[in-house]
Amino acid sequence: MDILKVKNLKKIYHTKKNEILAVDNFSLNLKQGEFVAIVGPSGCGKSTILSILCGLDKASEGKIEIDKNLKYGYMLQSDNLFEWRTIYKNCLLGLELENKLTKENIKYVNKLLDTYGLKEFKKSYPSNLSGGMRQRASLIRTLATKPDILFLDEPFSALDYQTRLAVSDDVYKIIKKENKSAIIVTHDLSEAISMADRVIVLTNRPSKIKNIYEIKLTNKSSPIQNRKAKEFAYYYDKIWKDIDYHV
């Protein structure tokens, strides 16, 4: 079952001087529980696609079919935690905005905080937490409203490499455990291959789909383990050539 269908998406940006075709003819079908990565050269319009999908931006052409009952959650590059709110209050933000501060939902947030190691930091302010913990808190804030699809826009690129590996492992496990579908936009090829079931490679602007890879790894498990799979290098090489970086 496809829970999200995107067909022939097109996006044109208008400025005073000219118009820029950012995305052209982009299509995507997402299955329940699937993890899709979108990679491409920087500035190619990857993030544009995500903001259109979650309704922050309007498409110029194309069709997006999403079940009305499905909810999405959006996670950005920086954690955007509010410095004047405690971690607990930050995690409740989405529920507050949607007027859904029910006992049951609050219990769910508490459970998430407990499960993902932030129990002792509920009363702390974001400035007292490490980058990884902050990113986890931001994920819990997104999960609190019980989204069915998660849109992750370069969610780890503000973190240093070590933290990044650990946090992407964490986030992946959380998403899988809560049985969510996800689309991640990233410029990090290894991140895409190690996390996703499917990788969509985009061309330079205007971005079109260049290639789609079903990632089939032996002993597929968590992202860090997946990096050790013998097919990893094969996919990496393929995608690298697709993107055709000019240094």
Binding site: Y74, F82, E83, L93
Partner: protein, 261 residues
């Protein structure tokens, strides 16, 4: 227990802080005593420069005839009223401009013109329209402070982190939710700073207004003193103003600290 080095470090900080305070107090004491010394020995013309002793005498006399606190109260009252209207009004208008970008763009040049206009030039018009009284003084102070308040607060509001706004929008937040959950709390420090700047501006406006129209207040004391060539009274007025302005400033700092707890 701290190490010896740490104790030395703490001692050094204490000593530096003490020296700063000591020097500060010394400067004012030396200034006051030198002033009095020069006045006593007729090295300066006390008719023009007055002297600390005569200032104190003037204050005592004003206190005795009951007018000291009357004047202070009048000025304080005018400052307080203008401050409240300017700050609250400025923030409300800035909010409005933040919400409706079209209007903010339309009135932008008018705000700029009003901001660069020397407001004291409006004095005569204000007096004719509002009459020679407290009303005119408050309007004067408002003109001086509210325009810059609107500009500064609006600037702060539109500089709020765009990503945080996107985040709220991804939760389908409505404009009023964005305002109360993000814009106001994230600009808390900016608003406090606007208050601090406003106190100074409002004093300028109120004193200027009192120069023009008043029958009472510290600005009136100064004006009256200069008209009858009683420079003791002028100096006394200035000293009282300095004390009032700094007290008001520290009052805001105090409130800020209480709110931060």
């Amino acid at each position: 227990m701290y190490s010896l080095e740490h104790k030395k470090y703490l001692k050094k900080i204490k000593l530096t802080n003490f020296l700063i305070r000591f020097t500060q107090i010394s400067i004012i004491l030396i200034f006051v005593f030198l002033w009095q010394f020069l006045a006593d020995n007729n090295l300066i013309n006390t008719f023009i420069s007055s002297s600390p002793k005569s200032i104190i005498n003037t204050i005592i006399n004003l206190y005795k005839d009951g007018s000291l606190f009357h004047h202070i109260w009048i000025t304080f009252y005018e400052v307080l009223i203008s401050f409240l209207i300017a700050t609250v009004g400025g923030i409300v208008i800035a909010t409005f401009l933040w919400r409706y970008k079209f209007i903010s763009k339309v009135i932008d040049p008018y705000l700029t013109i009003l901001n660069s206009l020397p407001k004291v030039s409006l004095g005569p018009i204000i007096i004719i329209i509002a009459g020679a009284g407290t009303k005119s003084i408050v309007i004067m102070a408002l003109f001086i402070s509210i325009i810059i308040t609107i500009i500064n607060v609006h600037q702060a509001f539109i500089n709020t982190d765009k990503n945080k706004i996107r985040l709220l929008q991804s939760f389908k937040a409505k404009p009023y939710q964005i305002y109360f959950k993000l814009i106001l709390p994230s600009n808390y420090n900016n608003l406090i700073n606007v208050c601090k700047v406003n106190i100074g501006l409002i004093f300028i406006g109120v004193i200027m207004g009192e120069f023009l129209v008043s029958k009472a207040g510290v600005g009136y004391l100064i004006m009256y003193g200069s008209q009858v060539f009683n420079l003791n009274l002028v100096m006394t007025g200035i000293i009282i103003l300095a004390i009032m302005a700094s007290l008001m400033y520290y009052l805001i700092v105090f409130i800020e600290k209480r709110l931060n707890k």
